[in-house]
Subunit: 364 residues, 4 copies
């Protein structure tokens, strides 16, 4: 209710701040009987952890996860699964200079005005570090969805600033530091150079991320408010720095005619996927395709005009360790959020309609 | 839980189908002591009702609202407010031809696969008609927000297919059938002609809608999942046919640098509004700016390939009365959804932090 | 959230006041595919309606229910089911004398202090009349539970004031005006006389009600907070005038030893039912047995000391039409609440664990 | 949703099992600005911890609490507060003999049938050990309620088996191992002897607990389902082993007349408190009085008939460390649950109606 839980039936409640003793989450509603250990979770955490290339924050965190409950003899029991990740590399002094003023484009301002108190160390609760427990929770969701329906998730960065990255193949995503789905070495080099220049300039940049879920059962989603698209939009906007979200054809739908947008059906299946895998808020069984816009990091070394708590004008420069493009590490996070939405709707559908009907292979 | 309620503290639960006896909603959580009668609600319903120009569906509905509960001697009592709107003009025979097959791009397909049963009359529950009760509920929310904080809402169509409509002034919105914020008669004429041609062609078109809330208190929104942006995205994606959503700079953020995107502050207030009025998921006190993409109507007269319930190929043409551009009537609906999000967060903020702090006029 | 909805997955949201134009509810989450018409609902409403004997309020209400949505061609579609009951016999003048003062033992006082405004006509929202929509909703739940698991519900009054009514058989319940499970005509006559005397005295009396659900699947309920017992206690305390609740052995457990209380098991099943059909918050498959205490009606003709809104001492006598024992009509209401709890937990269990496991007949 | 969270606005989500590595909870919705450290929480945990007398389980747990988040510089920030308590004394072998069979009166049976898997070590999730995090969370709630309204909580054991303990004064509660509100040394000695005999017999016993909250604001609670009484009943039934609950006059209401039960009002306040501090589900400002029945522990050394997982008859004796009367340590737990209900309703009331109205001293 106070905004730190995600999901209604597979509910993830997170806690922690960037520079506190620990971060973590409690997952309530995981079905019993799923084989589970830390080894299922750690690889997903490793995909998003800091310090993996020179293009992301140099904070050193192993992000080692400990399962505190909910698993007995290697199997989930249906009771809450608590995940704990101790913070290791908190250099709070890096942030001392921004405790009394507000970074342009940062949550500093709003936290202060909302609560009348804030934890300025590393952005406190507003830090993107808080996406780690969610990625951990989603690893469990992904495993369950894969076992139940064969659902798989992919994601990539499709644009870095003004550099567009044409999709070639998911297989390339793990081979470069940007989660780019391309094997074009020259393009990767161009992205590397752009990032190096940004670091030299003390600036940051935005990005666009695509995520896709395949082999999704037909029938997930609710008709009016908890539409599958609505919950996906909610989930994606819950990721730090996201400013836009598209499903399927997205904003291209504006200039489309009905005779062009509506995906025709044949006995062999849908012809096209402008819908992004959902109609009327309910999954069609096609790939779910989502695209999100991520704004540039607000914590930059470039001096900027701002005010302090008393309203006096100040110039703000942010030192410390920051991702110059938060979009780089956003791909596994966006996949995670999509997985959490889908497991929640899968469980809800099971409540309402019993076992999920799987569309005929032709139509899925 | 089953997706027909919106909001946690100001909760609107809707019911009804396009061609059933009635539609309506129950509003639970309206603060007591608000002066209220049908006269506060009907004007908003009239803004979105069908049949107001040749460019929208010709279904004739007075959309007369009756308050069944929650108001005593002209004042809300704090108990549930039920709104009832009787359906008057249901010509179900118009839809008979699509009961056994699926319209491309329509919820027909997914409802059938989810529930194993569906009400095909006028799209049943998936009809945009179901936005009427929400607009009614939001009229109450708007009145309360105006009284408490002076909050006001505006909306307009900014693009119709490939015709962009540069913003001139909100005062023009009521003067044309498109909710266009322009006094450019030639542009309006061009939109009229485009719509007339579409009707002749038996086709439909997409649109882009902008909504703005002004004089929003600072501090509304939750830090992680129930971010104000997340709940707005959820709300907007809950409107029929929406495929994309942007807050503030939206997808333009992708190519922006941090030194460009982050809105600087001066003692006189924010310089720019790339944030769209929220940082870290919490309102800044600036205007909240939202843009949405609406796909073209799927029910069109153009023959299209599809299948029937048994998977056999068929050609589908949809007769009956449909909006050739559902975006035209979407403006008051999008305003309504924004109002419902804001009242919910205002009440939540009051629970958490007591009376809403209002930013100094300079900063708001 | 504001307390007018019951249930998480089979969610009933009620609206209306005693003397407003209508009362009703919206049921969200009813599984699709259930045959349903008003004829399934009306009999349950008739069991609790007023005016059926001289021992209950003489208000004349047909309590005719109209289904406004959620049913197509006689089958539920999975979308919200709205039930509407028009109020017919509102004699608001009867209550005029209590609008400015507070009846001892009545919600008058607290509504006024909570909301700063109240609808005094017939008790407004606090009237037991508001249990009618719930009984209607529960009729649907009962039908579904019967079809799925064979679950059946029974209830009776086991004590009227100081008159205890030993249980003989459920078959007698419909044969007397008290829902007493006895064929002892002398005992019924004694109850009739006690009620007649109370009416002459202008006083009221309490009662005890028992409800039982049989053929409940094993495994319903959550381990910690949403224990089946907890949700049943919550449900029963949501009925007007309830002051106590017992599950199984109830308060007799206080003086029991563990060797006496814990129901032994044999291959043929449980030996005894001190547990009332649940252990650790989860159903055992045995009968669920619940007992509730209902206080005497607060609206009585006997003059009593009170104060008015300004704190001045007054004497209050309540005229108008009141149940001298609200417990008399409470039996079908208590059954209804139990049915609503069970369907909610059955759906939840289906979400968590897939199809409900049914205990072997021996153990159930 | 899956039953491991308590409260809607001050939400406590617990995790852990009796013999797992740790137990704990996440508190979401604590208002910002409250001074808080472990020293505020530990004393409440110490009141309910095991091993404090020979009459409770001899398991040795320091129950040392660590605050992992939500507090900065000694003040709550409005973000989630995670509490962690490491388990120290898990002797799982003690429970080996019951892993394959079901203790009469224990959740063994239902967990197994619900989930198809269970953690038998110390009762796993069903252990009363899981009340520790709740008591920790409630310490925070109590502190806030005291500061805001002066609300204070008291509790005592009023009956142990068939030994009734007449109330003398709250000051005695801390002076004996039973939380008895009596200074009668002979009575305490009788209780000690009864407990010693039970241990010798390998049996257990029930108890009755009373809790009272004083200086509660008027107006807390919702009119229909989330009545204050309903939420209290739900909370109390969520405590292990509770089988009955009474508010105010409770089951005595059954034999009362309206002219006796309804508490009269004078300008000096209410005359009597049969209502237990609430009318129509909303607090009156009087003391809230609650009484609960706690069944005898099911884990006893007395041999009892049962079955194993395959349905074969077995005799079960439970060795290991158990409370022979779980009611002894239930007093601080019942106070805790009451505090959690009240803070939740206080925050909800603030959302709905703004600042809580405090009744005039005369009436409160």
């Amino acid at each position: 209710m106070s905004g730190n839980s995600f999901g209604k039936l597979f509910t993830v409640t997170t806690f922690g701040e960037s520079h506190g003793p620990a971060i973590g989450c409690v997952i309530d509603g995981c079905p019993p009987g799923l084989a589970l250990s830390e080894a299922d979770i750690q690889p997903e955490l490793d995909r998003r952890k800091p310090g993996t290339s020179r293009h992301v924050t140099q904070r050193q965190e192993s992000d080692s996860v400990e399962i505190l409950s909910g698993v007995y003899q290697g199997v989930t029991t249906g009771t809450p699964i608590a995940l704990l990740i101790r913070n290791e590399d908190q250099r709070s002094k890096d942030y001392g200079n921004i405790a009394e003023s507000f970074r342009p484009g940062h949550a500093d301002y709003t936290y202060w005005h909302k609560y009348g108190v804030r934890d300025p160390r590393g952005g406190g609760r507003s830090s993107a570090r808080l996406t780690a427990p969610v990625v951990g929770a989603a690893a469990i969701a992904k495993k369950w969805l894969l076992q139940q329906y064969g659902t798989v998730f992919h994601g990539c960065m499709s644009q870095l600033g003004d550099i567009e990255v044409p999709f070639q193949s998911w297989q390339h995503v793990a081979d470069n530091p940007f989660f780019a789905a391309t094997g074009d070495a020259a393009l990767i080099a161009r992205m590397e150079e752009a990032m190096d220049q940004l670091r030299r300039d003390g600036d940051s940049i935005g990005a666009r991320i695509e995520v896709v879920a395949s082999k999704v059962p037909v029938g997930l989603g609710q008709p009016i408010y908890d539409k599958l698209d609505a919950d996906i939009a909610y989930a994606m906007m819950g990721i730090n720095a996201v400013k836009g979200i598209e499903i399927g054809a997205g904003f291209k739908s504006v200039a489309q005619k009905g005779s062009e947008h509506g995906d025709e059906l044949t006995p062999e299946g849908f012809v096209g996927n402008n819908s992004g895998g959902m109609l009327g808020g309910i999954s069609t069984g096609q790939d779910i395709t989502v695209s999100i816009a991520i704004k540039p990091t607000s914590s930059i070394r470039t001096p900027r005009r701002s005010i302090d708590k008393d309203g006096n004008p100040v110039m703000v420069e942010t030192f410390g360790r920051h991702d110059p493009c938060v979009g780089i590490r956003a791909t596994p996070i966006a996949e995670a959020m999509l997985a959490l939405v889908l497991i929640d709707h899968a469980l809800m559908h099971r409540a309402q309609c019993g076992d999920v009907r799987v569309a005929t292979p032709k139509l899925a």
